[in-house]
């Protein structure tokens, strides 16, 4: 099957309902605003916000690390919700959404892990700290989501792929909570800094930058999920078209 995302839009336009694009006027401006936001966060975070008294310049990584961590769990939540909705209602819309969420979640999990390790090295003196509950949980989530995507790639009818993947999404969603609990009990010597946000330790400017980073991250996730959803939707339409052609070809085989 050809992938709509890599195809020539003009070639596809002939036999699809609606435009063969993944973008729209809205996503264009959303994307533009996201890019501007990235630039703003980078400028504020790298140039304007002062270095931390204790951690020095390394503190700046929180503007990437914390939003991507929250975003990873938000995207994963979308996958979990989509999985349940597929199993409950057999909603194709939710199935595509679940898939879109999973890809974004893998990306953001990866970003969270890399930035977490980069920050850990100068701060804790080690890239990986087993006592850090959130980082360990995120690694397990990353592996669960990689498994989810590998199930999606197994092939079969759209319905069977959706059901298999949805069960993996559901099992992952329920068990990631148990993973978090168990790692927490296991290593109740967590190194992760308590949320600086809730303790009000952050300076106003740092806080402002972090809030902006959250907003920009949310916009970026929204933009990615919308595009990925539309790719999935177009893929479905192409697959349906291929199947209709195959049905016609098979009937022709019989001269009917």
């Amino acid at each position: 099957m050809s992938r709509a995302g890599t195809g020539d839009p003009k070639r596809l336009a002939g036999y699809l309902d609606g435009p063969a694009r993944t973008g729209s006027r809205f996503t264009f401006w959303l994307g533009a605003a996201t890019l501007a936001g990235f630039a703003g966060v980078a400028a504020l975070g790298l140039l304007v916000v002062p270095a931390d008294d204790v951690q020095g310049d390394t503190v700046r990584i929180i503007f990437v690390h914390v939003p991507s961590a929250l975003g990873a769990y938000a995207a994963f939540g979308l996958t979990a919700l989509g999985s349940v909705m597929w199993l409950w209602r057999r909603s194709e819309w939710w199935d595509i959404t679940a898939h879109a969420g999973a890809e974004v979640a893998v990306l953001l999990c990866g970003l969270t892990l890399v930035t977490g390790m980069l920050w850990g090295r100068p701060t804790w003196g080690t890239y990986w700290e087993w006592g850090d509950v959130r980082l360990v949980t995120t690694l397990i989530l990353f592996l669960v989501m990689v498994g989810y995507l590998s199930v999606r790639a197994l092939g079969g009818t759209a319905g069977s792929v959706a059901t298999r993947a949805a069960v993996v999404g559901l099992v992952g969603a329920v068990n990631i909570g148990i993973v978090n609990r168990s790692v927490n009990w296991w290593a109740n010597r967590t190194l992760h800094q308590q949320s600086s946000l809730t303790e009000g330790r952050l300076e106003d400017l740092t806080l402002l930058t972090l809030v902006l980073a959250f907003v920009v991250a949310a916009m970026a996730i929204w933009w990615m999920v919308m595009h990925r959803f539309r790719i999935g939707w177009l893929e479905r339409q192409l697959a349906d078209r291929d199947i209709h052609q195959a049905v016609r070809a098979r009937r022709a085989e019989a001269g009917r």
Binding site: M1, G156, T157, G159, R248, R251, A252, E253, A254
Partner: protein, 214 residues
């Protein structure tokens, strides 16, 4: 009520439309012979009627149950003989049928009778099924259908791999079932013993069912 009614049934195996808009209607008491070359979609048609495959387009009703809504209800009421025997190789014929009877909530006391009816020698009843000959395993698979006494018999090449004796037995079983009011659909790609049994013959090609052949 028809035993089977399919209208424009499309069934996908992966991305391949094994059925490409099949129409079929079978009444109780009928013995319908489905003919056609290899790859015409005969086996898929039988599996669809057994409620084992999802309908991706078209409509289908088997024994009054909608295939789109409740395939599980269909499965409880049919008997299917496929290419494979659906027996657990490590279990003996008696154990396989006993399990089958209990799982389908049928009195397991009918098992010896069914095995006897299919002419499976008693010395083989407790032998692991893998050690049976292909013909004997096929007889055991047919005995499983007898155990259930289904309202719809779906038989894929039922005479294949059987000796003359066995072929006669299968033919007798089918006529008995039909006269008891069950519907029988059997698939075959060759002319043979099935021809005389059938009250009606249809031909499949390219995933569709054609008009009755002469």
């Amino acid at each position: 009520m028809s035993a089977v009614r399919l209208e424009g049934a499309v069934v996908l195996l992966g991305r391949f439309p094994a059925l490409a808009g099949a129409d079929l209607s079978v009444d109780p008491g009928e013995v319908v012979l489905v003919r056609g070359p290899n790859g015409a979609g005969k086996s898929t048609l039988l599996h669809l009627c057994a409620g084992l495959l999802p309908l991706s387009e078209g409509r289908g009703e088997v024994l009054g149950c909608d295939l789109g809504a409740d395939r599980a209800a269909v499965r409880r009421r049919v008997g299917l003989l496929g290419h494979d025997t659906a027996l657990y190789g490590e279990l003996s014929p008696a154990e396989n049928l006993d399990l089958w009877a209990r799982a389908s909530r049928v009195d397991a006391a009918v098992v010896p009778g069914a095995l006897g009816r299919l002419g499976v020698p008693e010395r083989l009843w407790a032998v692991p099924s893998t050690r049976l000959s292909a013909g004997q395993r096929r007889r055991v698979a047919l005995a499983a259908i007898v155990v259930r006494r289904p309202e719809l018999w779906l038989l894929d090449e039922p005479h294949a791999g059987l000796d003359g004796d066995g072929r006669e037995l299968v033919s007798d079983l089918m006529s008995e079932a039909a006269s008891a009011g069950a519907a029988v659909v059997l698939a075959s790609h060759e002319t043979g013993p099935a021809d005389d049994l059938a009250t009606r013959t249809v031909t499949m090609a390219g995933g569709t069912v054609g008009a009755d052949a002469v």
